[in-house]
Amino acid sequence: MTDHLLSIVLFTPLAGLLVLLLIPSGNSALLRIWANMAAFAGFLVSLPLVFRFNASASGFQFVERADWIPSLGVHYALGIDGISLLLVMLSTIIGFIAVLCSWQSVQSREKGYYAMFLLLQVGVIGVFISLDAFLFYVFWELVLIPMYFIIGLWGGPRRLYAAIKFFLFTLVGSVLMLLGLLALYYLHFQQFGFNSFEISDLMKLNMPLATQQWIFWALFVGFAVKVPMFPLHTWLPDAHVEAPTGGSVILASVMLKMGTYGFMRFSLPLLPAASADRVVVQIIAVLSIIAILYGALVSLVQPDWKKLIAYSSVSHMGFCTLGIFTLNANGLAGSMIQQVSHGISTGLLFLLVGMIYERRHTREISHFGGLAQVMPKFAVAFAIAMFASAGLPLLSGFVGEFTILQGAFQANRTWAVWAVFGVVLAAAYLLWLYQRTMLGKITHDENRVLPDLSWREGAVLLPLIAWTFWIGIYPKPYFDILAKPVAEIVARVHR
Amino acid sequence: MGPITTGHYLALSAALLLIGVAGVLTRRSIVVVLMSIELILNAVNINLVAFSSNAQNVRGQIFAMFIIADAVAEAAVGLGILIALFRNKETILADEVDLLKW
């Protein structure tokens, strides 16, 4: 119990970062190798979590607890349940892959870049394992800073605009979120007479509906910006388009999940009455469905490859929030699986787009065509990622979307009917993208000489491809891991 | 001449503070400005130690230790900034720099 496994997982990237700082910044080869090793070590140390996790136990596991600022009731409290486990594993794997894929794409100021990545990794993992609202907030903000620099320093031509937009959106969101958390903190002091930020203490609060609703909306803004939910999503396409490949991958695959995780860890368990309120649920469900359809429609007309995928993220994350606010076990479990699946498939798509960008230095869809002839392996990988994203059965996207639809169907049939159109549109915008870029004749002569995937690029893609097949074919372990925490949330909400 | 009382120390501290503030506000060279800041900090230190001896406990003295450490760090950072500034702007005169506007 006291082997500090979670602390090790949390601080391995930080240790890597400290050593990285000692490497002279001119030695880019060593920097790269070390950063990859550190990220890989971060993944390796997280593996025991999977093997030693007990899916049949309720509550949190691997719990670590120490006082941090006793006078304020702030604790260093870590612990994971099934929900966090999936997201931690997603973070460590994607984190490593994002570092690995930067091998070629980042050729300047490597030291700072990799330092930022490792710092980002600490923040992201911290968000998913904190059991103390204050600690959670610290990590939440910690994520913001490296991401800002990754976009702002290593990004594309409009990187400053994108970075500032990203920063402002998320900062405003997190300030409101902080207000919500502080409100909970003070209410806890009022009711129990001692200070505590710990989630388990905050859960004991007894609040009237009106108070819950105020706090709910404050937290909502913070989480919804991160997800991002319509209409708070406009930072996302800009951030994605300007970010370097590794940044896009982390952003789409892991960081967006911080928002949905916030809903599942804070909004629903801490504010059950507000979360189950009919009006609140209706509003969020409608916003989610708008996001699903709107994101899909906007994707359809994007001229930029990366922007298209960014908008498709809006659509897919709409499924996740819809699943959460069905407030039933299927919706929540489906939402979690969809989150992992989105992390995999969108991560793959961004990786692939990054690879093509390295070759051609453009992402205009109209600059491509007939790539399948020059880069067959690339085309195959892209097809797999595309169909995983479009929800083809036996790939991961279907499992998540289907389970969410099932949950939505249980909660309100109309939702399911609307959401199903998102599935149809997903096929439309992805297949059309595929046709314009991969199929047909080679329209630009520069594309004739593009090299196919290298072994290193294949190694980057292969684990994610295998993972998407695993979830699609045998998702039962995921459902098992999620059963307990999801049941606990549902029980709290429907009490 | 009577014994040196807390009041004397406070007067000294006030004098040092005023000298320091005047230095910060009027001197053109940033080096002198930094030195003046040290004066201000030392004025505070004297104040703290004086009260500490007056109140017969050590809290003030401990705080003074912190401030000394802080002053060191500040001087280091300040001089570092100054060097960076000199590299870029070729000046150490405060009124020739208006970077704070940006």
């Binding site: 429609l297 036996l394 595929y434 004749k441 039962k476 | 009124d95 720099v97 704070l100």
Partner: protein, 657 residues
């Protein structure tokens, strides 16, 4: 002794292995291992066929005639698992899929010999067989859906096999997206099934008590899925375009197997449809309308594969007509016979195209009988069979459908069915005459394909001739072996294999359908053989009608008008500007519409959503002007202000006491 039923999982596994090997080869060593693929891929399907035959033989010995194996859970939330369900219905399907699938694989070895992407082709084809087997062997709706989408995927990949050609790639996309529309219905149907019955296993749904009023809705959702996959009006537009794929693919996927998945789905859900007469009526009506609608289009098409494609749609309409009248086994019987003769027709057409180096236009053919004797003879049998001339496969199944339509009491359904039978005979013999007879033997170099292409033709021709003899009408008083098909399959639907006692009326009906078929054949012969000038003069005198038929009743254009021009009038100049950019097709029209709403959303995004933020930023900027005057950037002026503030505060503190 190990029963073949214990190793059912081998049946889909073989083609999956073949697909994996071939696709890996295609990806990592393109152009290599051609010999390996030529043996392996047809071989796996043959193995699978052998396994299927032994499994079906073992099933026949079982008293229960239904065998369910569950391997592992899949989607626990809805109780879906990896499981196999074999009953007489799926038994028929796996025999068709593996049997005809093997013949078409064999044919492809010859047909595709000179095409690039050989391994990719066979990999996709094997993958298709795997998914199709998954579809029909699944023990629950969700797993069926996996196979369902899987065959859609393979269809996409194979239609777009010649992906360098824009039309092929676009046709693949169109097929997938139109199918997705139907699939959305099927998805909702699965969820409704679970809500109504609490299970999605076929065996349990069939036994579950009636779920009440939602049955009609559920049945219609299922039908939406079926209509997409089986190209029923109004979702038929993808199938003619799908002919861009290689011809063996058209034979396997778009004639014999995949497009019949809708028929399979509905007969699998017969328990649900029995509870909803309204939904059944819709199915029958749509089927009948599709049958005659597609047949009229087939009359005038000039592309040999397009004729066959519309013929397939029409024949699928027949099957749905039978399903809608509750004649489940008859629908499956027609599915069974149709698989033989339609696959044969496509393969024959493939032989013709192969011999003519890719020529598909009937107007440029003629007199090929001498050059292609095997192709001609086998296609002749198929054409006789599909026309419904007594004695061959098509006659028995089509006659059974017409009899059921008559028995259902709806004269309209019967008349439509009978008319379609006449049209079928006519367009099929028009095709035969244009391709094989007549004088214009321009293609001196035309020759038969290799044995791999000829053997499947002959095998399928035998099937087309004989397959009907296991379902001869009741009133023929033949031994039971001639009624093996209904006896085998009718119990699945809890129906008697015996029709109501034969009446003289039955003979009249049979005579009528035979007569109509003969009239069609004779007319075609008269038009295209004795008076070759007549078709042209008919075209002249009936120009408007001919134009309508040639343009497929303008459905694609109608979709375009409905979605495009109707809105364009309201939308004004902007929309009419876009109108010029709209390409043909209902799907394109819909895609355009959705793209338009996408643009509106983008506009909204940029001006309203983003605008609100920019406006906020602007106000902040406005308010900041006075504050900016204080900011001159000089450190010491800031410090001075700071010091003055301190003094001011201190003064307040001191003097206010």
């Amino acid at each position: 002794m190990v029963s073949a039923l214990d190793s059912l999982w081998l049946i889909p596994l073989f083609p999956l292995i073949g697909a994996a090997v071939a696709l890996l080869l295609a990806t990592f060593a393109p152009g290599r291992g051609k010999a390996l693929v030529s043996v392996l891929c047809p071989g796996t399907v043959l193995l699978s066929f052998i396994a299927s035959v032994s499994a079906v033989a073992a099933l026949a010995k079982e008293a229960a005639r239904a065998h369910q194996v569950i391997f592992a859970p899949w989607l626990p939330s809805i109780g879906a698992e990896w499981g196999i369900y074999l009953d007489p219905l799926s038994a028929v399907m796996i025999l068709i899929i593996t049997g005809i699938g093997f013949l078409i694989h064999l044919y492809s070895v010859g047909y595709m010999a000179h095409e690039g992407g050989y391994a990719r082709y066979f990999g996709c084809l094997n993958l298709f067989v795997f998914f199709m087997l998954l579809l029909v062997m699944a023990n629950n709706y969700a797993l069926l859906f996996a196979g369902w989408e899987g065959v859609g995927l393979c269809s996409y990949l194979l239609i777009g096999f010649f992906y360098r050609k824009h039309a092929a790639a676009a046709a693949g996309m169109k097929a997938f997206i139109v199918n997705r529309v139907g699939d959305a219905g099927l998805l909702l149907a699965i969820l409704t099934t679970f809500a109504a019955f609490g299970t999605i296993r076929f065996a349990e749904v069939a036994k579950a008590p009636a779920g009440g009023a939602s049955m009609t809705l559920l049945a219609l959702l299922l039908f939406a899925g079926a209509a997409g996959k089986s190209a029923q009006v109004p979702l038929h537009v993808w199938l003619p375009d799908a002919m861009e794929g290689p011809t063996p693919v058209s034979a396997l996927i778009h004639a014999a197997t995949m497009v019949t998945a809708g028929v399979y789905l509905i007969s699998r859900s017969s328990a649900i449809f029995s509870l909803s007469p309204d939904a059944s009526a819709v199915v029958a009506a749509v089927g009948a309308f599709t049958a005659i609608f597609a047949a009229t289009i087939a009359l005038v098409q000039n592309d040999i594969k397009k004729v066959l494609a519309y013929s397939t749609i029409s024949q699928l309409g027949y099957m749905f007509l039978a399903l809608g009248t509750g004649a489940w086994w008859v629908a499956i019987f027609h599915l069974f016979t149709h698989a033989f003769f339609k696959a044969l027709l496509f393969l024959g057409a493939g032989s013709v195209i192969h011999a003519l180096d890719g020529e598909q236009d009937l107007r440029h053919m003629g007199g090929l009988k001498k050059a292609l004797p095997v192709t001609h003879a086998t296609m002749f049998i198929a054409a006789v069979a599909i026309s419904g001339i007594p004695g061959l496969a098509g006659f028995f199944s089509k006659d059974a459908i017409l009899a059921e339509a008559f028995r259902s009491g709806s004269t309209a359904l019967y008349v439509v069915g009978l008319t379609t039978a006449g049209l079928t005979a006519f367009y099929m013999w028009r095709l035969m005459h244009l391709a094989f007879y007549g004088e214009r033997a321009r293609h001196a170099s035309a020759h038969e394909g290799p044995w791999t292409m000829r053997v499947p033709l002959i095998a399928l021709a035998a099937g087309s001739a004989l397959a009907g003899w296991i379902g001869v009408p009741e009133q023929w008083y033949t031994p039971a072996v001639f009624r093996a098909f209904p006896l085998w399959i009718a119990p699945v639907f809890h129906q008697a294999a015996h029709a109501p006692a034969g009446t003289p009326m039955e003979w009249v009906l049979m005579g009528a359908s035979a007569a109509v078929a003969l009239i069609g054949v004779t007319l075609a012969r008269y038009f295209y053989h004795h008076r070759p000038a007549m078709p042209a003069s008919f075209e002249q005198s009936l120009k408007p009608l001919h134009g309508i038929l040639l343009n497929k009743w303008y459905v694609d254009e109608f979709y375009e008008r409905l979605f495009v021009s109707g809105l364009a009038k309201g939308g004004g100049r902007l929309l009419s500007h876009f109108d010029s950019g709209v390409v043909d097709g209902g799907v394109n029209g819909t895609a355009w519409l959705t793209r338009l709403s996408g643009r509106v959303s983008v506009w909204w995004d940029e001006w309203v959503v983003d605008g609100a933020i920019t406006l906020g930023a602007y106000f902040v900027k406005l308010l900041s002007y006075p504050a900016r005057l204080l900011q001159n950037g000089h450190l010491q002026s800031y410090a001075l202000i700071f010091a003055m503030g301190m003094v001011a505060l201190f003064s307040v503190y001191v003097f206010s006491r």
